[in-house]
Every structure is written in structure tokens, then in C-alpha cells.
Symmetry: C2
Subunit: 185 residues, 2 copies
DNA sequence: TGAAATATGTAGACCAGTCTATAGGGAGCT
DNA sequence: AGCTCCCTATAGACTGGTCTACATATTTCA
């Protein structure tokens, strides 16, 4: 695949990722993906012959890797475990607020919409969450209940993002952030 | 409005509520609502002249009241605050598992899909979450940080439901449940 | 020249919403 | 009582638009 080809492919995934973050699977209509990415309709099926679900699946896994990288970056920047989690929450809150309360967690939306009926997308969501949980747990290494804690912190973050989007406010994230210290003494 | 009329109206809301719980706003297509409820298309626009968004909004508020009632029922059944929260988690986990990992929180899905672009539905989601938060906070009355705790517990529950649906497993809810005691000593 | 990639058009299903027609049942009148 | 009138509610065909997917050129580059 030539240079221009991979570039188009990336632009398609970028557009799809952004649309999914903003409103989930059904917000990422192919016409919208075409409009946002500027890619022609034909290129879409050239690069993703399995169609929409392939685009969504790859977008999810790529977004998962991106945010996973952010987690590892913040984990390496020192500070206590609670400070690390609060930094993650602040980062995701920035993203959400700066986008006008649009860009939340892409995985959560697709999971709630599709996990019950689409095995491939359910697997993609599950895999991304597993990777994030592992990243959190490794930052908490040494604690007896690191696995339970990692899942709990991920639930807290995902739930906080849901509430923040629903209220269009950082307040839920701030309240959650204040309680993290209780979980991570 | 006669008896038969209200019955049809309720059946429409029941169907819509179930479809929203399973897959959100776009899973509650009017054709699906018609098929599940058995109501004819004309009745749908007779009872809900503002169309789909009115049906979804009323479904959300009704579902919010139903689950709010469950919260208050469990709050009145004695036990510690942690036991209360664990009972709530167990109840929602039952609902999710018994439906084949379909019936999660209706509010979360619609919030993630629509809150950024639809003011009415965003308000409905926000109102329901506010009511649930108040119910949780009143059960925690007497604690200094009852408001922060209530939001945190709601985020934990919502996030736990997202993870459970994504993994098609109770495990995330169980891990979260085990950590609740740390938050509510 | 040949493959890779782009560009465009279109098929067929599904979507929300509108329209007209009509069944049913109670209120009011004779 | 028997009759008409009217409102509630049901019923389903129909419209314009959007969706994903596919088919068929055309361009671009090695």
C-alpha cells in the first residue's frame, strides 16, 4: 500500500474515531465519515472491505491504544497513585469540556449500544478495557487488591465521564476525584 | 383519555424503555417500538404528537422513576450504607445478566449518544441522574461528604454497568462491590 | 502496462413522520 | 329507549430522506 493510501486510511479512522467519541456507533454514519475525512466513498470500501463494522472496530482499538499510551505516560510522571488517577481524570475532563461536552469515552458508548448484539465489537470493547485495566493495575503494583482497585478506578472514571456528559459539567469528575484519595490511601 | 388509550400509551413506553435499555436511542426505532408494543403507527403519533424524542424522553423519565423507587426501597430495608450499595449493584447485575447482557442503564446510553446534540434529552438525563444522586445522598445523610460520596457511588455503579456489559460478565460489578466498603467505612 | 487507489453512481432497505379513513363508545337530544 | 353527533383511538398506506453496500469507471503511481 502506497503512502497516499495509508494516509487516506488514517484519515478515515481519525474521522470515525471522532464521530464515535461524540455520539457512538450510529453517529459514525459512513456519509459522515466521508464528509469529515474528505475520503471518497470508494476508498472507504477499498481500505475496509468488511464495511462499517471493520471501521468501527479498528477505530476503537486505535483509540484504545491512544488512551492507553496516555495512561502509561501519566503513570511514568511520578507522584502518588491518587495523583496519577486525578491526572487521568483531569486529562479526560479537559478533552470532554474543550469539545463542548462531546468527546467522551468511545468504548463506553459503543459497548452500551452494540455489546449485546455484535460479537466482534463486544470483543473489541472488552479487549480495550482489559488493556486499560492492566495499565492501571501495573501502576498500582504492590497493593494486595491491585486488580480489584484497577477495575474500580476504571469504573469510576467511566462513570464519571457519563455523569459529566449528562450534566455537561466537570462537577461530577471533580467530586469523584476528591474521593479517589479515600480509595488509594 | 379512556382506559384503552392509556393502556396503549403504556405499552408504547414499555417497549421503548426496553429497547433503549438494550441499545440506546437508535435501537429504539419507531418500527421496532411498533413491532414490540403491537401498537399501530397511528396510535404512536396520537399519543406522542412530538414524535420519537417525546417517546424517548418520557421513557427515560419513567425508567428513572422506576429505578429511583428501587433505590428508595433498598434504602429502607436496613443494613449499613455499604450493604445498601452492594444490594443496588446486585439488583442491577441481576437485571443485566438475566437479559443476556442487554438491559443496562438506559440513561447512560442515551446520554452518551445524545447529550451533546439534543438539549431536551440531555436535560432528561441530567434530571434523572440528579434524582438518583439525591436518593443516594439521603441514604448517606449525616456524613460530611455525603454529596461527593453520592456522586462517586453513582459513577461507580454506572461505570461498573458499562464494564459488565462490555465484558459480558458480573466480574467488574463484583470487584467494584468489594471496594465499596473502602469508600463507606 | 498493470496494480493501487480514487471517484462516482446507484440499489435496496430502513428511517421518522404525515396523511386519510374508520371503528368504538359515550353525551345529548327527541 | 332510540337516534345522531362527536371525540378518542386505531389502522395502515405513503412520502421524502438517509443508510450501508456494491458496481463501475477513472486516475495515479511503480
Amino acid at each position: 500500500m502506497g503512502h497516499k493510501g495509508t494516509e487516506t486510511r488514517e484519515r478515515i479512522l481519525d474521522a470515525s474515531e471522532k464521530l464515535i467519541e461524540s455520539g457512538g456507533y450510529f453517529n459514525a454514519g459512513l456519509n459522515q465519515v466521508i464528509a469529515v475525512s474528505g475520503a471518497p466513498r470508494g476508498s472507504l470500501y477499498f481500505h475496509f472491505p468488511e464495511g462499517k463494522d471493520q471501521i468501527v472496530g479498528e477505530s476503537l482499538r486505535r483509540a484504545g491504544a491512544t488512551i492507553g499510551g496516555v495512561l502509561e505516560g501519566l503513570a511514568d510522571s511520578g507522584g502518588s497513585a491518587a495523583e496519577f488517577v486525578e491526572a487521568v481524570i483531569a486529562h479526560l475532563g479537559d478533552r470532554l469540556e474543550e469539545s463542548g461536552w462531546a468527546r467522551g469515552c468511545p468504548v463506553a458508548t459503543v459497548a452500551l449500544e452494540m455489546a449485546a448484539v455484535n460479537d466482534d465489537l463486544q470483543q473489541a470493547c472488552s479487549d480495550v478495557y482489559t488493556a486499560w485495566t492492566a495499565a492501571l493495575a501495573s501502576r498500582l503494583d504492590g497493593r494486595l487488591d491491585a486488580d480489584d482497585l484497577a477495575v474500580t478506578l476504571l469504573a469510576l472514571i467511566e462513570g464519571g465521564l457519563v455523569l459529566a456528559k449528562a450534566h455537561r459539567s466537570r462537577e461530577p469528575l471533580e467530586r469523584v476525584g476528591r474521593q479517589v484519595a479515600t480509595l488509594l490511601p
